[in-house]
């Protein structure tokens, strides 16, 4: 009950921040549109929608981190958090209350991304639903990153870390804009050590029906998501006491 009330409040706070929502939903769609237009004007296969769409979906999820981090850091910087900390809510109520509203929002954002891709010419396949399901661990990962950033940073720092750094890391190291193997070396090793590229490859494998290729990529994302979710809970609980 307490967690539901808190989750409901967080949903309203996020959805009523129109600038954040428009930017979070709109920017990935604009990128999708621009890259598709570029693709239509060049003879080589640079950004085919079957590869681009899961990549843009993961890129869009990086804005979910911005949503969650912004709400938490604003709560922390206002006296509202003092009021909440003196209430009977437990640490689990906070973590779930911040996390649960963002999951349906992440799914909706990914659905919108695939719907836009379909409108731009992506071939319909029931595997789109599987691809969205495969991206759920990535959604949880980005939510957890947001929880951590919101707990540790102020709202200006959140804008820089989640709004600029994380979105760029996601874009550059995810195999979406360019094939990271073409860069090679340390860049490729770093990309492969991070979860973004694996989330995108798992999403692509699901859409393309290459089912045996899903889990080897998805495990990376699942482990990262579990570790970051645990870290978020520990850091939040520790911060509560100070």
């Amino acid at each position: 009950m307490k967690m539901c009330a808190f989750a409901s409040r967080n949903t309203k706070e996020i959805l009523r921040d129109r600038l954040n929502v428009i930017f979070g939903l709109g920017f990935p769609l604009i990128v999708l549109l621009l890259l598709t237009i570029i693709q239509s004007n060049v003879p080589q296969e640079l950004f085919p929608l079957r590869k681009l769409t899961p990549g843009i979906a993961v890129f869009g999820l990086s804005f979910v981190s911005l949503f969650s981090a912004t709400v938490i850091s604003r709560d922390r910087s206002s006296s509202l958090m003092l009021r909440l900390y003196s209430s009977p809510m437990r640490p689990a109520d906070y973590i779930l209350g911040y996390t649960l509203p963002l999951l349906p929002m992440s799914i909706a954002q990914t659905l919108i991304c695939f719907a836009a891709a379909l409108a731009l010419g992506l071939e319909w396949s029931v595997n789109i639903l599987l691809s969205i399901a495969v991206l759920v661990p990535a959604m949880l990962l980005f939510i957890a990153v947001g929880l951590i950033c919101g707990t540790l940073l102020n709202d200006k720092q959140v804008g820089g870390i989640c709004g600029a750094l994380l979105t760029n890391l996601t874009a550059w190291l995810s195999d979406t804009w360019f094939d990271v193997s073409l860069v090679g070396g340390a860049f490729e090793k770093i990309a492969n050590a991070l979860p973004f590229i694996h989330a995108v490859k798992a999403g692509r494998a699901a859409y393309n029906g290459e089912f045996s290729s899903i889990m080897p990529e998805l495990w990376w994302v699942i482990v990262y998501a579990a570790v970051f979710m645990l870290l978020a809970a520990v850091i939040f609980k520790k911060k509560m006491k100070t």
Binding site: M1, K2, A5, S8, R9, K12, E13, L82, S86
Partner: protein
Amino acid sequence: MKAIETRKLSKSYGDICAVKELDLVVNEGELFALLGVNGAGKTTTIKMLSGLTEPTGGEFSVLGRSKMEDIKPLINVSPQETAIAPNLTVRENLEFICGIYGFDRAESKARAAAMLREFSMEEVARQKAKTLSGGWQRRLSIAMALISEPKLLFLDEPTLGLDVIARRELWHIIEGLKGRVTVILTTHYLEEAEALSDRLAVMAKGRLIAVGTASELMAKAGCDKFEDAFVALCGGGAAV
């Protein structure tokens, strides 16, 4: 029953002692003011008693309970700055607090409606909290602290930064709480403390300097005006 009892309650941040061996008793139903200059330890005391920070020494009980999980359902806090959810409406803010105190939907709606009436906020019920004036936001903040029907309410600088009219309106609201709720009030406005409180405590440098009614404190300091008594007690620094 005693609403609050502290025994040698202390809080240190490294070498800095914010509250030192505080022995304090507040009776149930009292409107009790904690006074002191900046850094006296008032807010730290409230933070310890409301579970926002852990004491580094001593112990305390609230309404006979000493575990925070038993205490929290019985208390509520109106922090120094306005503590509202900016993008929720006034009514939603009230229902939100009911929800986190465990009331079901129907009960939350009924309590919010009653609180809107009591605080004359019906005309702004659908307005987002961030669009309210400072006075109305503070009024909402106090209503949010009262909607859970706490047995003990902490009001930390409730009228800070408000104009005279808004302050007087809040005084009226706070006076209306007398006898219903035990209120711990911190304020820098001495006339406010004198007018509203049953008893007052003066803190300086983390220590309790004096406690009593306004007239008792004036008699103790040998002053005719409460402000002079406060200055004398703070400047004197002698233990109770």
